[in-house]
Amino acid sequence: MSDPILKVEQLKKSFGGVVATDSLDFDVMPGEIHAVIGPNGAGKTTFVAQIAGMLKSDSGRILFDGQDIGAKTAPQRSHMGLARSFQITSVFREFTALENVALSIQAHSGHSFKFWKRASTDADLTEPAQKILDDVGLGERALTLAGNLAHGQQRQLEIAMALATGPKMLLLDEPTAGMGTEESEQMRQFLDRLKGDYSMLLIEHDMDTVFSLADRVTVLVYGRAIATGTPTEIRNNDEVRAAYLGEDEVTAGA
């Protein structure tokens, strides 16, 4: 069996008295989709921020591709092949879709102390960017300002930007957040197509998406992992049902 691409050991983070991440052990195997679910406030986004390097952990280790990345900055982690998407859509609204993706490519094609040549017509950036937009199905919206895209398209653009960094692993923070049923289904199919090509840590509220995509599921409650297993195991776990799934059934219609 190969080594996990991401391995988290005894990770901790608290804000004042609130423990957001509580002695968490977690791993993702190459090519695997490992989903993290949990009720609101379970610490899912904190967990992603710690792995992506936006929050400093109090203690514990994060190993990515065999290296301890705990001391590395977010940009350094991006260059190691770790890409994230944001729960709150974080595209550059005043740039076109193409410029958004081109920026990701630019970040990974040498330094940007280039002061003279126009970036928006630089084929070294725009051609690969257009290709990625075509791949995610946004090809025809390339020249639309990101702020003017429909919500679902902005979520797709989020992921296109992550893909454009040439990652080994994706950290996806609720890719279907705020989407309707149809859009969610499209996103699910899209992620399904990416499956196998990328290792993924998937944070998701939508249970259909989770159970149909994930190889393994970890349930997070108050920063602690109360269960890890295959979707079937998780579905049949009593503790999980009590903590989370039952509650979710009630609110699922909202």
Binding site: S90, S112, D122
Partner: protein, 316 residues
């Protein structure tokens, strides 16, 4: 991209500027040559501020510091009878680059209101330093005995020569900043304005790019100071006072934040208003204030933004 209308207005403005000395001479009002020379100097300064404020969200409340430093570079060297213009220019560029680098290193660790306050405080430190330099006139300032000497045949005392030198500098800096804003470097600065977390997540160590932008703005503003020292033949810490930094911010706001070219018109509008209103009253700002409020309320993108046509940064 610039709309056709905006491009025409911009080119038209530069043509008018190029023709202005002839017109002023023809109507026997040479005073306007001097006035427009000042307008152009502050245009350079305001544009350099917009470069970091409008495009980089670095709201510097101490940008006039670099105007002051530019005049000191000319004045102090002239005081010691070093009038070689090239040498003065070198000292001005290296000096403003060094100081803006150090100040950027300190202030860019903060953002928002803290950044405003820290740039304000650092610039005020230099203002008081200037006051304490009794040798160079303290708070009274010091006349600069001789303008910069560049080469035989360039008479810096000729108003036309000064005027076209300033116009040339304005043209070059405008074009250069416009190129920079649209370059890869410019995209990083603008992206970090829009969403710095996202920029870091896609792999940009944004700090060093923001610092570089801060230094570029400082140096360009220093050039404005270099020209102002030569034009006014006077060195005074008053140029570094926070009030002057506030004026630059107003010029940027009036012209249009994040439009680059707008502040050229902002500086023009501000100085012309000052010139016009102060004919009637010493308290001209009393009348300028309400105009500014109206403009901010009804034209968020300033004068430049009132023109039809989509601007890179203004579209939402």
């Amino acid at each position: 991209m610039l709309s056709k209308l905006k491009l025409s207005i911009l080119i038209g403005s530069f043509l008018v500027l190029a023709a202005l000395p002839f017109i002023a001479e023809a109507v026997d009002e040479p005073f306007y040559i001097d006035l427009m020379a000042r307008v152009m100097i502050f245009s350079i300064a305001a544009m350099s501020l917009d470069f970091i404020l409008g495009y980089g969200a670095m709201i510097s409340f101490g940008h006039a510091l670099y105007i002051g430093l530019g005049t000191y570079a000319v004045g102090i060297l002239a005081f010691y009878e070093v009038t070689n213009g090239w040498l003065q220019l070198l000292v001005c560029i290296v000096g403003t680059a060094f100081i803006s680098f150090i100040l950027g290193l300190i202030s860019l660790r903060t953002s928002g209101i803290y950044f405003i306050m820290i740039t304000f405080a650092l610039a005020q430190m230099f203002y008081f330093l200037g006051i304490s330099l009794e040798e160079f006139g303290g708070d009274d300032g010091l006349p600069i005995d001789e303008r910069s000497v560049f080469f035989e045949g360039l008479d810096m005392y000729d108003p036309w020569t000064m005027y076209y030198l300033i116009l040339g500098t304005l043209t070059v800096t405008t074009f250069a900043l416009w190129r920079i804003i649209n370059s890869r470097f410019g995209m990083v600065v603008r992206g970090s304005h829009s969403n710095d977390d996202r920029m870091q997540a896609i792999g940009f160590p944004t700090f060093k790019y923001r610092l570089a932008a801060f230094v570029i703005a400082g140096v360009v503003c220093g050039l404005a100071g270099f020209l102002l020292g030569n034009l006014t033949e006077f060195l005074t810490p008053e140029y570094m006072h926070w009030f002057r930094s506030g004026e630059l911010m107003i010029m940027v706001m009036v012209g249009g934040m994040g439009t680059l070219f707008g502040p050229l018109y902002g500086a023009f509008a501000y100085i012309m208003m000052e010139d016009f209103l102060s004919q009637f009253t010493e308290y001209w700002q009393f009348y300028f204030g309400p105009l500014l409020i109206l403009l901010v309320l009804f034209a968020k993108q300033g004068l430049w933004g009132m023109l039809p046509g989509k601007e890179d940064m203004s579209d939402e």
